[in-house]
Symmetry: C2
Subunit: 205 residues, 2 copies
């Protein structure tokens, strides 16, 4: 398999983290999104939506969307529950992550920490709105984790992997995680999982 | 089962449409989001994220996120493939819908058609950005559908249901669907599916 990814992407880190847990070998293909490498004709053949990560299977089939990649790789493993309701609850948190969490937590990080706010076409008012919505998402997570060790199924699943990726770097988007003690304790539990890698542990190319 | 929903919501329509295909009986509980009914303490008990739709099972368990509800209801039916790669491809389009499509196509419709642009805290520049991104999403869909009848698995699945909901009303957000002829032909194929209901066909309460 090949993973097309930019090391700065939390969405790519989700796939790298699960591949590490599963000890699956793969080729890492670095795509520099700031240099437009995810919008070239060759890359758009792999994902017409022009986004990383993309998982390319050995037969050339390409799968986009980080959380769809997590689903594909986790089926039949300990990171995906077997119970139908628990599966749906994992899905609920994966969609929460892409709709309520990532656009409000990863985007401020991207503007402030990676691209530089002065280079975005957006204004400070929009940044403040995203930070407000991001804090609401963190509060929802904190409340849920007050009485549970992990997001769904009573154990570590791809829901935790998806939410860990940008939450553990939320301070780079101007968020104060000390306001969310149950989230902080959960981050530590995630780091203790066997096979955990940090965001900067890239595979050899 | 109970479905908590606002009739103006395309996300709720996804659940209503699949429930109609499956001929499953349920109670419809109308939540007026413009009146704040999705943010009351009683509703936040059902979904701490304060959003509809929510599916409440007979044992009181509540499931949020429209696409997680589609997954839950479709498993084991013709609307969810059995092949693992096809399942992941359905998931890819469900996440595309929530990340690249819905925020850019449903949100302009909400501002222009439902809430009224003058009541939003956003500006015209942001509306234009969303319409540009929404047109990019429609172009990705149109390209994909040029050589396929449906989004994944060669047949009508929950990926089509999810994408139909806001696409068929995209004109209410200022989009010109005649630019996307493969999308227009697909909309017609969706409407021809057995058990199809329109967005305003609400169940009796």
């Amino acid at each position: 398999m090949k993973l097309y990814d930019d090391p700065c992407s939390g969405n790519g880190y989700k796939a790298r983290l699960l591949l590490a847990h599963l000890a699956l070998p793969y080729h890492y293909v670095r795509i520099d999104i700031l240099e437009g490498e995810s919008r070239t004709p060759a890359f758009l053949e792999k994902n017409p939506n022009g986004r990383i990560p993309v998982l390319e299977l050995d037969d050339g089939t390409c799968l986009a969307e980080s959380n769809a990649i997590l689903y594909f790789l986790s089926r039949g493993t300990r990171y995906w529950p077997s119970d139908r309701l628990e599966q749906a609850q994992v899905m609920q948190w994966l969609f929460f992550e892409q709709y309520s969490h990532e656009p409000n937590i990863a985007t401020p990080r991207f503007w402030l920490h990676i691209k530089g706010l002065e280079k975005t076409p957006f204004n400070l008012e929009l940044l403040a709105q995203k930070q407000k919505a991001g804090n609401q998402a963190l509060a929802v997570m904190d409340q849920h984790l007050r009485s549970r060790p992990f997001f769904a199924g009573g154990r570590y699943t791809i829901a935790d992997i998806a939410l860990y990726a940008y939450t553990h770097e939320a301070h780079e988007g101007g968020f104060d995680l000390s306001l969310y003690p149950s989230v902080v304790a959960w981050l530590e539990r995630v780091r203790e999982q066997p096979g955990h890698i940090t965001v900067d542990q890239l595979p050899a190319v």
